[in-house]
Amino acid sequence: MAETKDATSGEITPPTETNNEPEIRKELRETVFDRILLWLCSVVFCLVLVFVIVQVLVRYVTVHIGFSLPWTEELARYLLVLIAFIGSAVAFRKQEHIAITSLIDHFPTKVRLVHSVVACLLIMFFISVVTIGSVKFTYKMMVMPTGAIPWLKAGHLYGIITIGMALIAVYQVRLLIKYATEIKRLFWGKGSGRS
């Protein structure tokens, strides 16, 4: 799997043979929380596939009876929104978001560590702005119907974005804690060779 893992993620990380500095471990240790989240999103992914297939089957099998399931298409779309925002949070555990790291990789470890902290804070800033907007929408749209599914309101969908942003924030905090220990180790740690 290791090979295909790198394959389609489109990661733009050229090899860093030139850099002999100690590596920063950017991967978070997998916790129960991570597993549940990953499991949930993957099950949702399968559900989306099932819904689309059901839609095709229903359309071609029952075209003469005049029976259709309009909610399959809608639900598939909304679950895609769920994958987009909650899956993005999961992607932070192994730093799988596409980033151009070829320049930053050439810097010494300490600089890169500071850079990672700044990147975390910038991401936090962006998600807090998005959260301001999505919380407002979540409340405002709680009465707005979406279409074929009576109980589902547009507010719920914006709620997914809010939850997704909150989850990304959780990952950023975890990353920051990790970086904090790394900083302690590298800057003030024993045997770092600094006088």
């Binding site: 394959a7 489109g10 987009a84 993005s88 702005v129 974005i161």
Partner: protein, 435 residues
């Protein structure tokens, strides 16, 4: 604010975040916020960002992307890639430089199943490289042909970039996917011509003669795997499926082949593939979603119109405009990630293209192919990096190997640019007057 200053902010802020190594999706988001603070386009408005982000992913057409990714993964893990390679070898392996041709043909067939050049390079690429290396080819030639043929992946349907373009440009997805079929074949032929030429100069080895039974066996083994592109393209051509449904059906077909018929995929492996595909899809979707907010800022700033007027002031001849756009895209493709470049540049360049009378479908293919060539050029060529990782050939050698193959790629680009009928004939024939 003057236009030039405005343009400067749009590009400089984004580039700053990109180069600083902030993930692409968040670079786009942060730039959007920065532009709002600067009062370009529209004032600070978090609701608008959320609205655009939600709108960006709430699309049934977009669903095709995770399915294309999924199908590609199953093909690679389920043994279909190897069978397609064997099939190609049985077809064209005998001639001088045969493995080079096999490489290209296999990539073309694989392109009919997967929608991403990077997936092609990583899955099939490793097999192609190994076979060519064992067949007595040098590192440079093996990697060069593998990299160049990977660009066909997103041109022949299915294609992830083309689906994204279709959504952004508001053209028929079926139409643009069909439009890619002939150009993809043209690229393949151009590469094969180059390989033939090269093979005779450098005296490449011939493949070994195969008995009729061997050819028959390769055909029989590959036959079912070949069903995937037929199902996908045929389903869309006949109008039996929408592209999204075709993608879902292709996934199911690939699953049946991998799990039941070839039995090369276990359920545990499948679950791993599902998890990884989910994460890859989420990463792409978030990028598309945030890029939708950034694109809104571009449109709001009226920059595309201003840009179009400036270019038209130079020339309003469609060919001249296409040439200018080609040069621009080649430069951009060197530095930007494909999907990000596509989402940013489509709203900028499309008004110009339609103003001078270029068909949006034709324009989309020119754009995507340009960006694919960008995948082979340093400093940020994703295919180069992937091949370096998958084969262990040093990056400098990979780049050197690619050099001669820029020639056929540029010839193919010129053909696709200059002959609109190449892209437009098939969609018009099948779907009637699509735009």
């Amino acid at each position: 604010m003057s236009e030039i200053l405005m343009l400067f902010f749009f590009i400089a802020i984004l580039l700053f975040f990109f180069i600083a190594g902030i993930p692409v999706a968040f670079s786009l988001g942060l730039t959007t916020i920065a532009l709002m603070f600067l009062g370009i386009g529209i004032g600070f408005n978090p609701e608008l960002i959320v609205l655009r982000m939600f709108g960006g992913v709430n699309s049934f057409i977009l669903l095709a992307i995770p399915f294309f990714l999924f199908a590609g993964r199953i093909m690679n893990a389920g043994g279909m890639t190897v069978r397609i390679f064997d099939f190609s070898q049985a077809m064209v392996g005998r001639v001088r430089g045969g493995l080079g041709h096999v490489n290209i043909l296999a990539s073309m067939i694989f392109a009919g199943m997967s929608g991403s050049a990077v997936a092609d390079a990583a899955g099939l690429g490793a097999i192609e490289y190994k076979a060519m290396k064992e067949g007595g080819y040098s590192d440079e030639v093996s990697v060069g042909i593998t990299a160049a043929s990977a660009t066909i992946g997103p041109i022949i349907p299915p294609s992830i970039p083309l689906v994204i373009y279709a959504i952004l440009a508001n053209v028929s997805v079926g139409g643009i996917l069909l439009g890619g079929l002939l150009p993809g074949i043209v690229i393949g032929c151009a590469l094969m011509l180059m390989t033939t030429f090269y093979a005779h100069i450098h005296n490449f080895p011939c493949g070994k003669e195969r008995t009729r039974e061997e050819v028959f066996r390769a055909f029989k083994n590959g036959f079912l795997a070949l069903g995937t592109p037929i199902l996908l393209i045929g389903g869309i051509v006949s109008g039996f499926f929408t592209p999204t449904e075709a993608a879902a059906v292709a996934v199911v077909y690939a699953l049946i082949l991998a799990l039941k018929i070839y039995k090369e995929l276990t359920l545990t492996e499948l679950w791993e593939i599902i998890k990884q595909t989910m994460i890859d899809s989420a990463v792409l979707l978030l990028l598309i979603s945030v890029a939708n907010a950034y694109a809104f800022m571009i449109v709001r700033s009226r920059l595309p119109i201003i840009f179009a007027e400036q270019v038209i002031a130079i020339s309003s001849d469609p060919l001249m405009v296409l040439l200018i756009i080609n040069i621009l895209l080649l430069i951009v493709g060197m530095f930007l990630e494909t999907i990000a470049a596509l989402t940013i540049l489509t709203p900028v360049l499309l008004p110009l293209a339609t103003m001078v009378g270029i068909d949006p479908i034709h324009f989309g293919l020119v754009m995507v192919f340009n960006l694919m060539i960008g995948l082979l050029t340093p400093p940020f060529g994703a295919v180069l990096f992937v091949l370096n990782k998958a084969t262990g050939v040093p990056l400098t050698k990979v780049v050197k190997g690619c050099l001669p193959f820029y020639i056929p790629l540029f010839i193919a680009l010129a053909l696709i640019t200059l002959i609109p009928a190449l892209t437009l004939w098939l969609p018009r024939l099948v779907l009637g007057g699509v735009r």
